[in-house]
Amino acid sequence: MNTLPTALVKETEVAKALREELQADFVDESRMFGDRPIFLVRKDAIIQAVKILVDDFDARLLTVTAVDNGVDFELIYHLAIKSLVVNLKTLVPKEDSQVSSITGVVPGAISAEREIWDLFQIKFEGISDARAYIAPYEWRDAKSPLRKPLAGIVGSYQKPTVEKLMQTGQVLPITSSIIKEREKLKLPSIRSTPTQPDAVKEIRTIAHEVKFDKKTGYDLDKNKLRY
């Protein structure tokens, strides 16, 4: 238990505690504005993260908000530690749309979680009462007004270009008939990325470095767009 008076708790101590206890589940630290720190944690560690803030820093949950950013949901847990407000953020993949409920740590979170279920259809595992909360009765059957289609930012017409670019470094496949035609014309073998696996790796490394994979929902391990 942290023995400092909560008024003296500094943002750096909160960050240090989260980083040390969550280890690899602590993903990133950023700032939205002024004195509002944002701590990005993995989805599976959200209960532990909230517990650290509540148990060690006497944090009080203000609310939980959700954003559909196209590829993933962002859940933001707003917590106050005296005058310091911190945001715990986690990403929920839209494919499974579920996350652990924190009502075991903060029972009052139930209203925010039920509201998010209503508006986004994000399922909170372990919630004691999962009924709809604020949506009009006629909207309660699978009509979540703030949930965008499962499409991400890559339009259907852009998908073949994105996937081919990430898979081969170019946007068109080299077909067997073209290879035959090239041989017939005695053209030299192709030296661009489709025949150079190391060069394709470079393309994918660059995509990861500039966060293209994150922005578009491209899964570099499975080598395709998530959806």
């Binding site: 930012i153 890559v154 017409y157 852009q158 270009t161 994105v162 670019l165 470094g169 170019q170 946007v171 068109l172 496949p173 080299i174 077909t175 073209i178 035609e181 090239r182 017939k184 014309l185 053209l187 030299p188 192709i190 030296r191 661009s192 990325t193 489709p194 150079q196 190391d198 060069a199 470079e202 393309i203 490394t205 660059i206 995509a207 470095e209 500039v210 966060k211 293209f212 922005k215 578009t216």
Partner: protein, 299 residues
């Protein structure tokens, strides 16, 4: 003995994957004029200025910078045979010169894959190489009568007008016409010369691209009495060739009175023909359009 000038030739995606006759013609033309085409080891898509740039500018710029870096390390000017690739590489080169923030991102990104930042890369469109580096007079002197009386509709394509200022934007399209004339063909006037072929719209809405863009352009060309269309861009080439077929099959368009359409070739193929190189030598028959119509008109 004078050493041969070497170019880092950027083939892009379309030429190597769909149009080997253009690559073959380019290599033959270079050879005839004492130039050497060097392939760029590990070059990727430029990347395309329509999809990738719109999705994320940092990725688009980093990949373009990587391609420019490969050419610069070869210590040669980079030459492209595609208007779209030219647009990307031109824009990327300018952005790297003028935008410190993006330049910083790209420099850091290229370092992670062991590539250096291009400092002053040379970039040429094939039309510039033909008109300026080889030269109009040299093309005229070396041509045969193969293309005599062939009426050609020159389609410059939108990105050939890419320039630093309005005054110079007409230079490359003018060079294009000069090259066609120097090779022995007759560039004809037609109404919608500056109009887009519709290719960029195709990925978003095919029907609009074909009916509202391509069909208007083709009608204007057919009315002019052209024997063929000559392009400086493989994407325009594909749009003209396949678009004609699709307009007939899918939308029952009959713009040429029941004919089989109009052939389309790339400017390096036209120059190869002008030099007296036979169509079969560089695989011109692999075009999907009515290329025999054109072959029948050669001398």
């Amino acid at each position: 003995m004078e050493s041969r000038k070497e170019y880092a030739v950027y083939w892009g995606c379309w030429i190597q994957a769909r149009m080997p006759s253009v690559e073959s013609a380019c290599r033959m033309v270079f050879d005839r004029y004492g130039l050497t085409a060097r392939d760029m080891e590990g070059a990727s898509c430029c990347p395309d200025p329509v999809v990738t740039e719109r999705l994320q500018r940092e990725l688009w710029l980093s990949l373009a910078a990587r391609n420019l870096s490969i050419a610069e390390n070869m210590k040669m000017d980079m030459v492209t045979l595609c208007n779209g690739c030219y647009e990307t590489l031109f824009e990327a080169r300018d952005t790297l010169r003028t935008n410190d923030q993006l330049r910083g991102v790209v420099e850091k990104t290229l370092a992670t894959v062991g590539r250096n930042m291009p400092s002053n890369p040379g970039l040429r469109h094939i039309v510039e190489v033909l008109a300026q580096d080889i030269g109009i007079e040299k093309i005229e002197r070396s041509r045969t009568d193969t293309l005599k009386k062939l009426k050609v509709a020159v389609h410059p394509g939108c990105h050939l007008y890419r320039a630093h200022d309005r005054e110079t934007s007409q230079q490359k399209p003018k060079m294009f016409e000069d090259v066609v004339a120097a090779a022995g063909a007759e560039p004809i006037k037609y109404r919608l010369r500056r109009f887009c072929c519709g290719y960029p719209h195709r990925v978003v809405e095919e029907e609009f691209s074909l009916k509202e863009m391509l069909a208007r352009k083709l009608q204007s060309i057919w009315m002019s009495g052209a024997d063929c269309i000559v392009v400086a861009c493989p994407a325009c080439n594909i749009q003209f060739e396949f678009g004609q077929l699709e307009l007939k099959r899918k939308y029952q368009f009959d713009l040429d009175g029941g004919g089989i359409g109009i052939p389309v070739i790339h400017v390096v193929e036209l120059v190869a023909l002008g030099l007296g190189i036979k169509p079969e030598e560089f695989g011109m028959t692999s075009h999907r359009g009515p290329i025999q119509n054109l072959i029948g008109k050669l001398k």
